[in-house]
């Protein structure tokens, strides 16, 4: 067993874990935050994307021990404390950017990261290229592209900082 300490959605956590524990297992099984999903085990589908120190990372191929001292934010940590949705969450709902919902947490976490890196004015080509690491089987991406575009613009106009409340 090994001891790991990190911040998850703004909360300091410490746990004794099997050293082979993946970050996604730590989040789901130890922290009981089940919004982060495992869709493929090989870093292809992106259902497991979380933010580590502000950057989008696939938690299915990250060891929890690698996150010693890091700040991890999951889908559960991006809405405001009063429950107000993050603009990207709201955009996915408004533009029907989800159907079964399984890929959605990873999509939203990746989308926020795209905006953080590429800014608030994104063309369709950029959005599609940047979503390469997130697979959706339901939507054909059509409405996800619209949601990311709208979410990016809304993040610019948002009174709240682009970084999450939890960070």
């Amino acid at each position: 067993m090994a001891t790991v300490s990190m911040t998850v959605n703004g909360k300091a956590v410490t746990a004794d874990i099997d050293p082979r524990t993946l970050l996604v297992q730590f989040i789901r099984e130890n922290q009981l935050l089940t919004g982060t999903h495992v869709g493929c085990d090989t870093s292809q589908c992106g259902a497991c994307v979380v933010h580590i120190d502000g950057k989008a990372v696939k938690s299915c191929t990250t060891l929890a021990l690698q996150c010693q001292g890091a700040s991890v934010v999951t889908i559960e940590g991006i809405a405001a404390a009063d429950g107000t949705l993050h603009p990207m969450q709201e955009a996915f709902r408004e533009h029907h950017g989800l159907q079964c919902g399984f890929c959605t947490p990873g999509m939203i976490m990746s989308a926020i990261d795209i905006v953080n890196r590429k800014g608030n004015s994104l063309d369709e080509h950029t959005i599609r290229e940047e979503l390469e690491g997130n697979i959706c089987r339901c939507t054909g991406y059509h409405n996800i592209v619209r949601a990311v575009d709208a979410g990016a613009k809304a993040m610019a106009g948002s009174a709240r900082p682009i970084k999450h409340a939890a960070e």
């Binding site: 099997d18 082979r20 789901r28 935050l33 089940t34 919004g35 982060t36 999903h37 495992v38 869709g39 493929c40 085990d41 090989t42 292809q44 589908c45 259902a47 999951t74 889908i75 559960e76 809405a79 949705l85 969450q89 996915f92 709902r93 408004e94 029907h96 989800l98 159907q99 079964c100 919902g101 399984f102 890929c103 959605t104 947490p105 939203i108 369709e124 959005i127 599609r128 290229e129 979503l131 390469e132 997130n134 697979i135 959706c136 089987r137 339901c138 939507t139 054909g140 991406y141 059509h142 409405n143 996800i144 592209v145």
Partner: protein, 787 residues
């Protein structure tokens, strides 16, 4: 139309939990004391099992049990079943080989279930699996669909020549005559590639045995939990139905693959009693590729007869369908009754004959995948039609229009009675939306950039709203295909709808609530949709075959009729009027010709307090149920137009425009329907350009991860132009036809027709990878040079 009623693009009620990470999928559920199952799978495509030695594994830390097929047999647990009996041409029944949930003496595909290891943790179960020794007697594999019947290796002893059945439909003599008289005959050899359905949520199960109640619970990723309970109970023999609860919570996509009753779910629920602990299994992606039922996999010879006026006079098809190593739950119906009855397409074809050979191979079972049989039929028809038009030198849109069915109802020679449609309306709208007139100009412009631009059509039809029970019963179905609904009105006028349909992305919590809000005049927020739990919903047939609108909502509609009728009785007492004078509109009961009204909510309260009427004259309460059995299949149809650009030097194909015009009948929520179309097209483009399950000659699955199986990504696809035409469906009370599968059915032939148009050669097999397209382009160049 109200802001939340039928026809409104209401934002989805279920979304909040999904976008906040609060969705509750099977793997998110954990039960106290839960143990974990790991399946030891066959590394061989075909082998006898001489001996399994699990003694070392059983002694490893945390291991609770290692169970095999012998343990299943000892407990008299039956095999997995196929619920649709197909008869051979000679009237004899299909040859169904045994399908134990854990192998008994033989394994028949890579990934077949040899043993289950149950331990305190998944890691312990995995580690212990490494210590199980299996002595295999390796046998040759049978992989190829086209030659399976001539293989010397037999997969099941009951099926000589690996033949599951040799089935036919249509009129052979009439068809022969049509071909003899034909002016022109188009012949094609067509392969419909094998696909892996790949819902993003892998399958999962938790089996739970309650000793005190002698009762089992199975949490599972199912599209039809009641059918799962029925099969587990009546056929596999886990427990009687009253002692088995099946729960399918949030399910992350299905596309058909979660209809079926699989080995893993069966074993988890059975083993929970044996180990006295809840048993959880969650598939990883490679397991999903290995053991989820695959789709398609047809090899077809097809011919179309055409007369001197360009009228199609006959269609003849011989198809070999690969059903894999075992008959999955509904597999036998897919290349028969879900396939050949759609071979008339949208066309008036007087004579059709189809012969189908279904074969066993040492590959994963093949069953329904989005469209199920209808994409295969549409691909045959729409490729033939396109090629016929090209050979005859007739514009492909015009050739289709010349042959469209225009009078309804229309009886095809292959069972189906099309009830309503206007195919030309969809074609006209699609031609306009795609700017077909401007295509020549776009092609020339592309040429200047060194690109080959092509356009392709698909004028598809499908049969949805599955299905009239008596009709499918006569065709061999083991179940009826009605749907159930219960409407529970609470005393303050809120409403709970219990439905046998199951939502796994379709948005039923929204669309079903829209119907209720529309009919009862209650706010959308006051309506809850309850589904996916056999303890709550009494019985149901589940969601597949685009049936939940046409059949599931029709059941709700029927139950709502009863609620309104009962409400009128209550209102008559309260308003002191005759029942026949009571009207119900916009959420209010009123007395004709007066200003006396009673709100729906107030009526509900009166129904429950029962102060205004004698409980002997009128039963208190407001709760009604209905079973709705459809009168016919429904027939969604439409036109998709694909436009591509091919780089002749590399074969790289870019889909540059996509136009879809569909007739789904009455649409409840256009936003959701368009989303279904988008997703279907994406899967169709995936089949046509990217996806393909590959087994090597030894039966090893080459495409067993997302690094090997090419899933459509955002940058593989264009945005889609989606339009609609509406002819209401006369076969159900709501006029709904269904929309879930259309895109996956329409897209593959549209895209292949566009690519073949671009490169000028018909030899483009699916998936049309750059290599395939480049080769076709080279052949076209050589042909041009030779001419």
């Amino acid at each position: 139309m109200s802001a939340t009623g039928i026809g409104a693009s209401v934002r989805r009620k279920e979304d909040h939990r999904f976008i906040t990470g609060a969705g509750r999928y099977t793997d998110d559920i954990n039960r106290p004391g839960q143990a974990h199952a790991y399946f030891l799978r066959s590394p061989h495509a075909h082998a006898t099992i001489k001996k399994i030695d699990a003694s070392k594994a059983k002694a490893m830390p945390g291991v609770l049990a290692v169970l095999t097929g012998d343990d299943l047999a000892a407990d008299k647990i039956g095999g997995l079943i196929c619920g649709w009996m197909i008869h051979n041409k000679d009237g004899s029944p299909m040859r169904a080989g045994g399908h134990p949930a854990l192998a008994q003496g033989k394994v028949r595909y890579v990934g077949d279930h040899v043993a289950v290891i149950i331990a305190d943790t998944l890691a312990q179960a995995r580690d212990a699996a490494e210590a199980v020794t299996v002595d295999y007697g390796v046998l040759p594999a049978v992989v190829d669909t086209a030659t399976a019947m001539t293989s010397k290796t037999v997969v099941h002893d009951v099926a000589p020549n690996n033949s599951v059945y040799n089935w036919h439909l249509g009129n052979k003599d009439d068809t022969e005559k049509a071909f003899k008289a034909a002016k022109h005959v188009v012949k094609m050899n067509i392969v419909n590639n094998r696909l892996a359905p790949n819902p993003m949520e892998p399958r999962a199960a938790i089996g739970l045995y309650d000793k005190a109640e002698d009762h089992y619970t199975l949490y599972t990723t199912s599209q039809n939990p009641h059918v799962a309970r029925l099969v587990l109970s009546a056929f596999i023999g886990i427990a009687p139905e009253n002692k088995l609860r099946v729960v399918a919570p949030d399910v992350g996509g299905g596309f058909g693959s979660k209809i079926f009753i699989y080995a893993e779910e069966t074993v988890c629920v059975w083993a929970s009693k044996k180990v006295g602990r809840p048993v959880k299994w969650n598939s990883d992606r490679t397991e999903a590729f290995l053991s989820d039922a695959h789709g398609r996999d047809h090899v077809t010879e097809a011919q179309m007869a055409i007369d001197e006026n360009g009228k199609i006079t006959g269609l003849r098809v011989h198809t070999i369908a690969n059903l894999g190593a075992y008959l999955s739950t509904f597999s036998s119906s897919v290349p028969t009754y879900l396939y050949a009855p759609l071979l008339s397409g949208q066309y008036n074809i007087p004579a059709i004959y189809a012969e189908v050979d279904a074969v066993y191979t040492t590959t994963a079972p093949v069953d329904a995948y989005r469209g199920a049989g209808r994409p295969e039929a549409t691909f045959v028809v729409e490729r033939l039609v396109e090629v016929a038009a090209r050979q005859l030198g007739i514009d492909p849109a015009k050739f289709r229009q010349m042959n469209y069915i225009t009078k309804f109802p229309h009886q095809t020679p292959v069972i189906m009675m099309y009830d309503a449609g206007n195919y030309n309306a969809s074609m006209k709208k699609a031609l306009e939306a795609a700017d077909y007139k401007g295509f020549g100009k776009r092609r020339k412009e592309a040429e200047k950039r060194g690109k080959l631009r092509g356009i392709g059509f698909s004028s598809y039809i499908e049969a949805c709203g599955i299905a009239p029970s008596a009709a499918v019963g006569s065709l061999g179905a083991g179940v009826g295909l009605w749907e159930s609904a219960e409407v529970r009105v609470n005393p303050i006028g809120t409403v709970e709808i219990l439905t046998g349909s199951h939502s796994h992305g379709q948005g039923h919590e929204t669309t079903f609530a829209q119907l209720v809000s529309d009919r009862l005049g209650v706010p959308l927020e006051s309506v809850s949709i309850i589904h996916g739990d056999t303890d709550k919903v009494q019985m149901g047939m589940g969601t597949y075959g685009s049936r939940s609108g046409a059949v599931g909502m029709s059941a709700i509609s029927k139950a709502l009729d009863k609620v309104i009728a009962k409400g009128k009785k209550v209102a008559a007492y309260v308003l002191e009027a005759s029942e026949k004078d009571i009207d119900f509109k916009d959420g209010k009961f009123s007395v004709k010709g007066t200003d006396k009204t009673l709100d729906f909510g107030a009526c509900a309260l009166q129904a429950y307090i029962a102060h205004k009427f004698n409980g002997q004259d009128l039963e208190p309460g407001l709760k009604e149920g209905a079973f709705y059995d459809p009168t016919n299949f429904t027939f969604p149809a439409g036109v998709h137009i694909a436009e591509v650009e091919v780089d002749p030097d590399t074969g790289v194909t870019k889909v540059v425009n996509w136009t879809a015009v569909d007739d789904f009948g009455v649409v409840i929520n256009p936003m959701i329907v368009e989303g279904q179309v988008h997703g279907g097209i994406a899967q169709g483009i995936g089949q046509a350009m990217l996806e393909g399950v590959v087994y090597d000659k030894e039966g090893q699955l080459v495409t067993a991860s997302y690094m090997d199986y090419c899933m459509p990504r955002a940058d593989d696809l264009p945005s889609f132009t989606v339009g609609m035409t509406v002819t209401a469906c006369p076969s159900n009370p709501l006029g709904i036809k269904g929309c879930g599968e259309a895109g996956a059915i329409a897209a593959p032939p549209a895209l292949i027709n566009a690519i073949t148009d671009a490169v000028g050669h018909e030899d483009v097999a699916m998936p049309a990878t750059p290599k395939v397209v480049w080769r076709a382009a080279q052949k076209a160049l050589k042909k041009m040079a030779a001419e």
